[in-house]
């Protein structure tokens, strides 16, 4: 059983290392910021997630000390990663207004919300419909 625990922790550690490296390599290799945003997401979710699981398993199985602090870090990172990516993408789009041409069509009269303000609905139209 001891061997099984060792294999479990080792596998989680190797997964954490490999995915962190892949994320950082993607950040360096890809050529456009919007593509580059994909790389670090692997490091955030799988890399840090596997490292935290390995840490939890290690402390529970080998130090006899079960702790759930690590889950706090995982939850915090999972909550904040999309917000960070959104903010970076938005800052990029506003720094380079020409990037709008590369965005997919919204299939409506209204363009992308980050460039155009929301459509205004006049009070008269609302009362007429109801």
């Amino acid at each position: 059983m001891e061997l099984f625990y060792e294999i479990l922790v080792s596998a989680l550690l190797v997964i954490a290392g490999v995915f962190t490296l892949i994320g950082s390599f993607g950040l360096l290799k890809l050529d456009d910021l919007m593509k580059r945003l994909h790389g670090p997401t692997k490091a955030t979710t799988l890399g840090v997630g596997a490292a935290l699981l390995a840490s939890m398993a290690f402390f529970a199985l080998f130090v006899e000390r079960l702790s759930f602090h690590e889950l706090l870090v995982t939850i915090f990172l999972f909550l904040t990663a999309p917000i960070t990516a959104n903010m970076i993408a938005k800052a990029h789009l506003h720094r380079h207004p020409s990037a709008e041409e590369n965005l997919p069509d919204t299939s409506s009269d209204q363009g992308w919300a980050t460039y155009h303000s929301a459509p205004t609905i006049k009070a008269a139209e609302l009362t007429k419909e109801s």
């Binding site: 922790v9 994320g23 490292a51 840490s55 702790s67 602090h69 960070t84």
Partner: protein, 89 residues
């Protein structure tokens, strides 16, 4: 076996931080550098967790939690500064 896996993971994360440093130096725009810094913070979180396992000490979780929060807030502050020209109105 765990020692070898731990050494491998630590080496991978350290190499990842070096790659992030290269992206931070290359740029080319400010948002690229913010993304590189954010990834660097996340890799440092991994590094600290693994170092905690290496030392068999649970002391590093507080540092990890603080680093996660400070990293998130600093990234959002940088982005807001680029978007609005100020951080707090």
């Amino acid at each position: 076996m765990i020692e070898y896996a731990l050494a491998f993971a630590l080496a991978c994360v350290a190499l990842g931080i070096l790659l992030n440093l290269a992206r931070l130096a290359i740029g080319p725009s400010a948002t690229d550098r913010i993304l590189a810094l954010d990834t660097m913070v996340i890799n440092s979180i991994s590094l600290l967790i693994l170092y905690g396992v290496w030392q068999s000490s649970p002391m590093y979780f507080e540092a990890v939690l603080l680093l996660a929060m400070v990293g998130f807030i600093s990234t959002v502050a940088y982005c807001r500064y680029i978007l609005h020209g100020n951080v707090i109105e």
